[in-house]
Symmetry: C2
C-alpha cells in the first residue's frame, strides 16, 4: 500500500485540503419489524408510510417486514446521521407493539414459506422478489445492513481534472477516479468488515445448514468461532457463486454484468451483490445511466447493523469510513484484474473465518497476519492525515481506536455483542436493545434531528411529510420556508401553516383586527363590540351610550394589566367612567372601550372543515408544595426536557424576569415566596405558551356547537388554516348564544402545541396539513 | 309660519344641536346623453356600466339615452356631492363622442316615436315604460332632474322619541315626524323651486303645444315669461291631473294611492309624481315596506339640473336645502288637508307662472307677494339658526344669498341661464357647458373625489367597480382595505392587487427574494446569479470562481450607488476583486456578488394569463432648455397637476433633497446648474416612480416573447397579480435567451402607473382586476 505522493503534494500545493475532506453522504439501512417477542412481524407495512414504491425515505426491501430507510444526500456526516436517526424515530413511533430488530442477522423466523415477501403492486418487482426467494431462500434475504453512499466534493473533482490535464473527458476522468477508489475498497474491504462487523451470533431459526455447522451458547444462540459478520460470510447475503466483474472501466463493468445476465447467472444486474457498487446519478435504468452519465457515487454495502447503536451505526464509524475513502483515492493505482480480485476475496474470507489473526494473502512472500497489514493501513492513513490536516484531534482519536481494536480483538463490536449475547441470549439481548431504542425514540421523537433550528411546527410538518414520502427542500431555512413535493405536485409552505390553501385576502383579513371583526359580524358571529378613542372628550361624550353595559376600558397596549378598568356591572357613574378613561390615557395615547366578555379563552385550531384541536392556555404558573420558593419551583418545572426556548420545543421555559417580578409584586409576592401545598401562583397575566403558559388539550371536552362556531368563523374569513381564539363564559349554557365571543383569528397558528400539549393527546395537526395539501393517505 | 319654540328649546336643553345638524344624504340625478351637436343620442346605454337593472350607481331611467346616477347614503353633504361628481366623471369619460346634457329640459329631440325607451329585459318594467310613453308622450319623460334624499340622524330621532314620551311606537313616531316634514315641504316647496329652478328655456323640438304657447329668442330657443322651471310647470313632468293624496298618516297615504291605482288614475303607486315622496328603507315592494317598516327617508324631487354647475347642483344649494329641511321639522304642525294642499299647489303655480312677484295664496287677507312670504321664511330660518348654532358664518352667507336672489329675481339661476341663452342660443349655450364639463371631467378623472386619501390604485379600482355596478365598503380606510360585492359574490381587496386570487404562499415567495430566485430557477427562468457574503475572507475565497465572469459587487443596501463595483468584463485581478469587496463592506455588513446584467429594466404588469402593461421607468430627471436652472426645471415639471405625493396622483413630484443633491454632486452639478437645451439631467439613481421617475408605457413595443417570460415567471410563483421586473439587454436579440433576467416579482404592483403613465396609454389595469375577480363584463 502506497500513497501517491505526487497527488497528495499537488493537493496541498493547490490548497485543496478542505475540498478533499468534504464529500457528499447518504445512508440506507434495513431493519426487520418484530413483535414484542422478537418474532418476525407478519403484519403489512404500515399504511402511514404511504406508497412503498414511491416513498423516497421509507420503503420495504425484500420482505414486507423489512423496512428500508433512506436519507437524502448531505454534505456532512452529521446531517446524514441525524436524518437517519429521525427516520428511525419516525418509523419506531409508527409501529404499534412492534420493534425494529437491531441486528443484521434475522430475528426469530417462521418457516421459509411463511416469510411475507413485500408486495409491490408492480408485476416486475413482484416477480423479481419471487425469483430471489426461490434462488436464495427467504431467510437469507432477511439479512439487513447499512449502505454508505459517498461522492467526493465536486469542486475537488473539477480542480483535480483541470490540474491533471488529462486528455479524457470530465466524465471519463470521474469514472476512472471512482473506479480506482472502488478497486482499492474491494482490495481493503476486509479491514472495514473487521471494524464494522457486528453480526457474530444468530438465531436457531436461521438457515438450517448454517445452524448445523455452527456452535451455540444456548438452544437458540448460534455462532461461528472468530466470525464477526455472519452477513458478510457464506451464510450471509452473497451471490451464490463467486462472480468476477471487471472494474477497469464502466464499459467493461457493464459488459461483464450484461454477459452474466445473458448467461442466466444473474436475474438482473442488480443481483450482483458486490461489497462496493458504482452508481450513476439516476436510479432508474441503472446500466444505461451508468454508460451515459458516468459514475456519480459509490455505495459501500458491507456494513452491518450495529446493535450497540440505536441508529445501527455511529458518527465515528461514518467518519472513519470517510477517511478510509480518502485514503483509497490517494493510493497508488495498482492492477486489479481477476487475480487481484481473487486475492481480495481470499483476504475477506480469511478475515471472516479466522478473524483479524487470519492470514494475509498478497505480494509478501512470508506469512503475515491481517493484524500486521491492518496496522500498516492505519499507519498510511496517519501519514496521509498528517499531510492533509496535521492537528486533527478527532481523526487521531479515530485512528487510535481502530488500532486498539485491531490489536485487541475482544474490543471489536462483534466481540462485544457476542459476549453480551452469551450473558443473556441472542433473542433477549437484541430485544432488550430494541426496546431500549424504542424508548429513546419516544423521548426525542418530537424533534427533527439536524433541523432543531427550525420552529417545532415546521419540524413536525417535515417529519410528517417524509413519513408519507413527500420530499422536501429548504427554501429559506431561517424563515422556515420549505418546498414539499410529491410527484408533480409542489407546495410552498412557510412556518407550517402559511400555505397555498389560504388566499392573500384571507390572511389580510385575519391580520387586521378591525377588519376581522367586521367580517365575522357580517356572518352573525359574536365579537367584542367596542370603540377606539384617541381623546378624552370624545370618549366622555359616549357615556350615555355605554352606562348600562358591562365594559372594559383599557390602553391599546397593556402591560401587567395596568390602566385597565372593568365595569362588570352596568349603571356606573359618569365620574367613574371618566376616571377609568383618565387612567387608561395615562398609559397610552389610544384607549379601547370594549364590551366586557367574561369567561375563559380557548384556542380552536381549524383546518379545512374541521376543528383539529382545542386548547385552554393557562398563564405560566407554579404549584406550591409548602416547601420550595417560587424560584425553586420554576427551576423545577423548567427541568422538563420538553421545555425550551423559541418555539423549538413543545413547551417554553418559564421566566422569572422583570415582567414576572412585576406581576408577582402586584400579588404581594416575590421570587422567594413559598406557596402552600397545592397553591397555584401565576407568573404572568397573559396565557401565551411562548411565555411559559401551560397548554391543556380539551378537544374532546368542548361541546360541538363551539367547534361549529369556530369553523364558521374560519369560513367567514375564508381560512383553511387558522387559530380561532374564543372566550366562552359558561360552556354548558345553551339558553343564550351570547356566552361566547371571538377575540381573534390567527393566520399562523402554532401546531406543535396541539401535538405536544402540557396535558392531553397528540392531535396530529401536522398530518392534517398534509391531508389538506396533498390529499389523505 | 311659526317655529315650535318648545321643541326648539328642548333640543337646546338636551344639547342636541349637533345631532339636529347631522343627517343622511343621497343624490340621484338624470342626464340625457347627446351627440356632439346636442341631438339626443340614439346609441345604447354603454356596456361598460354592466347590467342597467343591477348597477346600483349608474342606470337608465325612462329612456335608453337617459342615464341615472345614484349615490349611496352618506353622513355629509360633501361626501354625497363628491361621489356624485365622481359618478359624473366616470360616465362622462366612458362616453365616446357623446356628452351629458346639462339641462333638465331635453336637448334636440327626434320625433316622439324615435325616442328610444330603455330596454330593461324585464317585461313588467318594459310594459310600464311603454304605458308611460303613451300616457305622457316620450318627450315629456325626457325631462331630467335631481332627487335629494334625506333622513335625520338616528340619534336625534331616538332622543326625540325618548324625550317626548309619546304613547306611540318608535316607528309611528318616526312616520309622524317625516310626514310633518313632508307636509311642510309641500307647503313651502314653491320657495325651493324658486331657488333651484334652472330650466327656463327649451328647444323647439319639445312638446308642440308648449312651443306654440311660448315666446322665443331665436328659432330654436323657447321660453315662458317669468317661468324659471319648465320642468316643474304644466309642460314639465307632472301627473296629468292634480292628484290629492293624504299626508296624515302612512296608512291614509297608502290607502289613497291604492284607490288611485284601482281607479285607473295611476298605472302604479310610483306614477304619483309628488314633489316630495315618503320612502321606506327597502326599495322593492314600496307600499308594503312603507306599511311594515315605516318611513326611512324623504325624497325631494323638485330640483332642476343646474347647467351652471358640472354636477347639476352645488354644495351650497344642498346645504340650504338641508337647513330648509330642519326648519320644516321645527315648524308648528298645521293642518294639511285637501284645502291646504290646494293652496300649496296654487302657490307653486303662482311661482311658476308669475315668478317670485306672484301672489301668495294663504290665510292672509290682504294681497301679499311670494317675495314677502319668502323673506318671512328666511327670517324664521335665521331665528332658528340663531338658536341652534349662533355664529355659523357659512349658514349666514347662504341665507344672505337667498335673500338677495329673492329680492333681485335677475340673480336667480333661471335668470342667469336665460340671459346667457339669449346671448347665444339654447342649444349652443348648453352644448358649450356640456363640453366644458367633459373637459373638466377629463382633467380630474383619475381621482375618486372624497376618496383622495386612498392610494390612487385603490381609487381607480373603486371607480371601475362602481362603473360596472359593484358595490363597495371601506373595511379599513387607512389600509386601503375594501370589500367589493356583487350579488352574493364578495371579495376582500387590499391596496387594489392584494386579493383572494393570490395564495398566501405565492405572496410569501414573492416577498422573499432568495426564494423567488429559487422558484424561478426551478422553471428555467433566468435570474441574476449571486452570492451573499458577511465577511471579507469568505468572499475573497471565491475569487477563482468568479474571475472570468461579469459581476457586480455591492453593499446589500445601496445609497446613491456608493460602494458598488461593476466588473463588466471578466478576467479582473485578485487585487481589484479584493478592493471592490473592501469598498462594499465599508458601506454594509452584508455584501452581494451578483452576475452583472446589462440592459434596461422593465416593469411587466401581469394579471392572470396576460401582460396588461409594460413600463420602462426612467429615474427622476429634467430636460434643460439652456435657460433655467435644475431647480427651476424641477419646479416647472412639478406644476403638472398629475404629480403629487404618496401614490395618490398618477405621478409623484420630483424632489430636490439630500439624496438628489448627493447624486447631482457626483455628477459635478448642483441645483443652480443650467442644463443645455435638450440635455437630460438625472436626479436619482433609482427609477422608482415614487421618487419622481417617469413612466413610459411600452406595452405595444415590447416583443411578445418577453411577455410570455413574464407570464411564465408569474405562473412559477403561482401569482395572479404581480409586477415582474425584468432586465433586457438587447430587445431585438433572438439568438440567445441570455439577454434577459428577472430581478424581482412584486406582489403589490401599483396599477395607476399603467393607467396614467407619463407617456402612453391607459391600460385599464383596474378593469382587468375586476374582470378576474368578478368575471368579464
Amino acid at each position: 500500500m502506497k500513497v501517491n505522493r505526487d497527488l497528495l503534494q499537488w493537493v496541498v500545493k493547490q490548497n485543496l485540503q478542505e475540498e478533499l475532506l468534504r464529500g457528499n453522504f447518504g445512508l440506507e439501512k434495513e431493519n426487520i419489524r418484530v413483535d414484542g417477542n422478537g418474532m418476525l412481524a407478519l403484519t403489512p407495512h404500515p399504511k402511514a408510510f404511504g406508497n412503498k414504491m414511491e416513498n423516497p425515505y421509507i420503503r420495504t426491501d425484500f420482505s414486507e417486514s423489512q423496512i428500508e430507510m433512506i436519507t437524502p444526500v448531505f454534505q456532512t456526516i452529521s446531517e446524514t446521521y441525524d436524518f437517519m436517526e429521525t427516520l428511525h424515530d419516525i418509523v419506531t413511533l409508527e409501529l404499534e407493539e412492534e420493534y425494529l430488530w437491531p441486528s443484521s442477522n434475522p430475528p426469530v423466523l417462521p418457516k421459509d414459506e411463511e416469510i411475507p415477501i413485500a408486495l409491490m403492486s408492480d408485476p416486475v418487482e413482484d416477480q423479481y422478489r419471487m425469483q430471489l426467494a426461490e434462488k436464495y431462500g427467504r431467510k437469507r434475504q432477511l439479512m439487513s445492513g447499512i449502505h454508505y453512499n459517498f461522492s467526493f466534493h465536486e469542486g475537488l473533482l473539477k480542480k483535480l481534472y483541470e490540474g491533471l490535464h488529462t486528455d479524457s473527458s470530465y466524465k471519463d476522468f470521474k469514472n476512472q477516479l471512482y473506479l480506482k477508489v472502488a478497486r482499492n475498497l474491494l482490495r481493503y474491504r476486509w479491514l472495514l468488515v473487521y471494524l464494522t462487523g457486528a453480526s457474530p451470533v444468530f438465531n436457531k431459526t436461521y438457515l438450517e445448514q448454517c445452524v448445523q455447522l455452527s456452535d451455540h451458547f444456548d438452544d437458540e444462540s448460534y455462532f461461528f468461532p472468530n466470525m464477526n459478520s455472519l452477513r458478510n460470510s457464506i451464510c450471509g447475503y452473497r451471490n451464490q457463486k463467486p462472480i468476477y466483474v471487471s472494474f477497469d472501466s464502466v464499459e467493461t463493468y457493464v459488459r461483464d454484468l450484461q454477459s452474466l445476465v445473458q448467461a442466466g447467472e444473474l436475474l438482473s444486474a442488480r443481483e450482483y451483490y458486490s461489497s462496493v457498487r458504482i452508481k450513476p446519478a439516476k436510479g432508474k435504468d441503472f446500466i444505461n445511466s451508468l454508460l451515459q452519465d458516468g459514475i456519480a457515487y459509490l455505495e459501500l454495502r458491507m456494513i452491518d447493523l450495529n446493535p450497540l447503536y440505536k441508529v445501527g451505526i455511529s458518527k465515528d464509524i461514518m467518519q472513519f469510513i470517510h477517511l478510509f475513502l480518502i485514503l483509497m483515492l490517494l493510493l497508488e493505482d495498482e492492477p486489479f484484474g481477476e487475480i487481484e480480485q481473487n486475492l481480495a476475496d481470499q483476504n475477506h474470507e480469511s478475515l471472516i473465518m479466522d478473524g483479524i489473526q487470519g492470514k494475509w494473502f498478497g505480494a509478501e512472500e512470508h506469512f503475515i497476519t491481517l493484524v500486521e497489514r491492518a496496522l500498516g493501513v492505519l499507519e498510511t492513513m496517519e501519514e496521509m492525515l498528517q499531510v492533509i490536516t496535521p492537528d486533527h484531534e478527532s481523526f487521531t482519536r479515530l485512528l487510535e481506536q481502530a488500532k486498539q481494536i485491531i490489536q485487541h480483538s475482544e474490543l471489536n463490536f462483534a466481540s462485544i455483542v457476542k459476549a453480551a449475547t452469551q450473558q443473556s441470549s441472542y433473542l433477549a439481548y437484541h430485544m432488550d436493545k430494541a426496546k431500549q431504542y424504542a424508548e429513546e425514540s419516544k423521548a426525542s421523537g418530537y424533534k427533527f434531528l439536524g433541523y432543531e433550528d427550525l420552529e417545532l411546527s415546521t419540524q413536525l410538518l417535515l417529519k410528517a411529510a417524509l413519513k408519507r414520502g413527500i420530499r422536501f427542500e429548504m427554501l429559506d431555512r431561517e424563515e422556515n420556508f420549505i418546498l414539499l413535493q410529491k410527484g408533480d405536485h409542489t407546495e410552498y409552505v412557510k412556518q407550517a401553516t402559511k400555505t397555498s390553501l389560504d388566499s392573500y385576502s384571507t390572511v389580510l383579513i385575519m391580520e387586521n383586527k378591525v377588519v376581522t371583526k367586521k367580517v365575522l359580524e357580517r356572518q352573525g358571529i359574536r365579537v367584542p363590540q367596542g370603540r377606539v378613542y384617541s381623546d378624552l372628550n370624545t370618549a366622555l361624550g359616549d357615556y350615555e351610550m355605554f352606562r348600562d353595559q358591562t365594559i372594559v376600558i383599557k390602553p391599546k397596549s397593556t402591560n401587567f394589566g395596568l390602566g385597565i378598568t372593568i365595569f362588570a356591572a352596568g349603571g356606573f357613574s359618569r365620574g367613574d367612567f371618566q376616571k377609568a378613561f383618565e387612567m387608561a390615557f395615562a398609559h397610552d395615547k389610544t384607549v379601547l372601550l370594549e364590551e366586557f366578555i367574561s369567561g375563559k379563552e380557548y384556542r380552536f385550531l381549524v383546518m379545512g372543515d374541521e376543528v383539529v384541536g382545542v386548547l385552554h392556555r393557562v398563564p405560566a404558573n407554579v404549584v406550591g408544595n409548602g416547601l420550595h420558593t417560587i424560584e425553586q419551583l420554576v427551576a423545577d418545572k423548567n427541568k422538563d426536557p420538553l421545555r425550551g426556548k423559541g418555539y423549538k420545543t413543545p413547551l417554553e421555559r418559564l421566566q422569572l424576569g422583570e415582567a414576572e417580578e412585576m406581576f408577582l409584586k402586584h400579588q404581594g409576592k416575590d421570587r422567594s415566596y413559598v406557596p402552600g401545598a397545592g397553591e397555584t401562583v401565576y407568573l404572568r397575566e397573559n396565557s401565551n405558551i411562548s411565555t411559559g403558559g401551560d397548554s391543556i388539550d380539551l378537544t374532546d371536552e368542548i361541546p360541538d356547537r363551539y367547534k361549529r362556531i369556530a369553523v364558521k368563523a374560519a369560513k367567514a374569513a375564508g381560512a383553511t388554516f387558522c387559530g380561532v381564539d374564543m372566550m366562552i363564559n359558561d360552556m354548558e349554557k345553551y339558553a343564550s348564544d351570547r356566552n361566547y365571543s371571538i377575540i381573534e383569528i390567527n393566520f399562523n397558528p402554532a401546531i406543535h402545541i396541539h401535538c405536544f400539549p402540557f396535558k392531553g393527546t397528540n392531535r396530529k395537526a401536522d398530518e392534517k396539513i398534509l391531508d389538506l395539501l396533498f390529499g389523505k393517505l
